[in-house]
């Protein structure tokens, strides 16, 4: 009985976190893009446009969720929920603060890598069931893209697993008590961090890798036929996925909730400990989200062949070489 109540509370917490993330991240994206393009961004609803995303949500809620006549109705309506469920499952092993984690399973990182590749099924399902050539093309591109970029993303995560010697999220965080892996792991950790950022940008289907949507070529790719709340679910899933991959990146490379410590500077370290661990976690995560938004509003979209070239000819060989290097470092004990 207690377990069930716990589960329900957890579910409510996750759903409200999703809603908050959707509102905050959409507004953040619009403001960041506006500032990068020397515009003002949303500034009508509320002070400085604060309630713009709230107003958009109300609009999407009252819109009609149309299902096209030629669509496969069951799969068409199922796909947005699969996208959301995948995002929800990925929330489980993330440590939001000190001792604040839903499920600290001993293969946490592997779990994340495995579950995140299910999201392609939602996209393929949406593209196939829409009975629309643009949707199908977008879905197929997304499939090729996610299957390729999983590799280098996984290898980038693996470098830190090699250094830590554990797949458990709490172990990885605890190993960074005396310094984050991006500082402790020398150059290989930095290379892995850059590759990780590129790979997760591609995995979440965001520009410059947004071939699955590609407004200018495929109208909206896999969610062309979606409207109303079903579209909103896809939209929300995209932003929640961005949050999750950034949270994973922050956990693995930047120490999760671990405060910033420098060697033996006792006073400085104590000062840093006064900042709550949740603020450290969310600060790092939003820093990474900002970097991914920065990518989006700077770089032009890649062509499909360029996309696959980048993965198979550059990222994959580099990350393979990198993992050799990091194994050498781990065996010789050269890291701090």
């Amino acid at each position: 009985m207690v377990l069930i109540i716990e589960m329900v509370i957890m579910g409510v917490c996750v759903i409200s976190l999703f809603a908050m993330l959707g509102l905050v991240l959409v507004l953040m994206e619009r403001k960041v893009s506006a500032y990068m393009q020397i515009r003002l961004g949303p500034n009508r609803v509320g002070p400085k446009g604060m309630f713009q995303s709230l107003a958009d949500t109300v609009k999407l809620l009252v819109k009609e969720g149309m299902t096209p006549g030629g669509a496969d109705k069951f799969l068409f309506n199922l796909a947005p929920f699969i996208a959301m469920i995948v995002a929800m499952l990925l929330m489980a092993p993330i440590a939001f603060a000190k001792d604040f984690q839903m499920w600290d399973l001993n293969i946490g990182v592997l779990y994340v890598a495995a579950i995140s590749s299910i999201s392609v099924i939602a996209i393929l399902m949406a593209g196939w069931a829409s009975n629309n050539k643009y949707s199908l093309m977008g879905a197929m591109r997304s499939g090729a893209q996610i299957v390729s970029y999983e590799l280098s993303g996984g290898l980038a995560i693996l470098t830190i697993v090699v250094l830590t010697g554990s797949l458990q999220v709490s172990d990885i965080i605890n190993a960074q008590a005396n310094g984050w892996w991006i500082f402790k792991g020398h150059i290989p950790a930095i290379i892995a961090f850059v590759i990780f950022l590129i790979a997760v940008t591609a995995e979440t289907n965001r520009a410059p890798f947004d071939l699955a949507e590609a407004e200018s070529e495929l109208t909206a790719g896999f969610h062309t036929e979606y409207s109303g709340m079903k579209f909103a679910l896809f939209f929300l899933a995209e932003y929640v996925n961005v949050f999750i991959v950034c949270a994973i990146g922050a956990t693995i490379f930047l120490g999760g909730w671990m405060p910033f410590h420098i060697g033996n500077w006792q006073g400085f370290n104590h000062l840093m400990d006064y900042i709550p661990s949740s603020i450290w976690f969310f600060g790092k995560t939003f820093f990474l989200i900002f970097i991914i938004m920065w990518f989006r509003w700077t770089f032009p979209r890649l062509r499909i062949d360029q996309l696959l070239n980048l993965e198979w000819k550059y990222l994959l060989p580099i990350s393979m070489f990198n993992i050799l290097l990091v194994t050498l470092i781990a065996i010789m004990g050269w890291h701090f």
Binding site: I38, R39, L40, W294, F295, W297, T298, Y314
Partner: protein
């Protein structure tokens, strides 16, 4: 040799991407100059470029005279039938018949502002105006007659 090219390619790619990110990062951190027009708020102070194309108008002078000879060059130049010139024949004092316009009908709803009619006009009778708030409730009011009622052609325009 291959490896050298490979590494230099990566180096060039990373450095050019970083250059782009530095540019947008500069814009992000120096948020003073706004290049967009804050439209409904600055309605009075709106300044348009000289060649902005809002709609086709026919300028008249203070004696209610225009420069249109009724040659229909604009009608022929228009790619989508926006302009229709209805001509009539005036009788000159010498008793000769002379071609002139009765009405010059302009369908704003069809116009793509391509400027071809203005280029085609041999007597500079029409030009592009800078007005742009064209939305109306009735479609019929988008069909405009460009020459004023009772206007006639200017002296000396052939």
């Amino acid at each position: 040799m291959f490896l050298k090219n490979y590494i230099s390619e990566i180096y060039q790619a990373v450095s050019s991407l970083l250059k782009g990110m530095r540019r947008t990062g500069y814009y992000f951190t120096h948020h003073k100059e706004i290049i967009t027009q804050q439209y409904p708020d600055n309605k009075e102070a709106l300044v348009f470029p000289e060649r902005f194309r809002g709609e086709v108008v026919m300028p008249h002078d203070e004696k209610n005279e225009h420069r249109c000879t009724g040659c229909t060059a604009c009608e022929l130049a228009c790619p989508n039938g926006t302009i229709k010139v209805i001509t009539k024949f005036d009788i000159t004092p010498e008793g000769k018949k002379k071609k002139a316009i009765d009405t010059l009908v302009y369908h704003l709803e069809l116009c793509t502002m391509c400027n071809l009619c203005i280029e085609a006009c041999p007597s500079d009778a029409i030009k592009m105006a800078q007005t742009f708030e064209h939305s109306v409730f009735d479609r019929n009011s988008l069909t405009k007659i460009l020459n004023n009622p009772g206007s006639k052609i200017m002296e000396g325009v052939e």
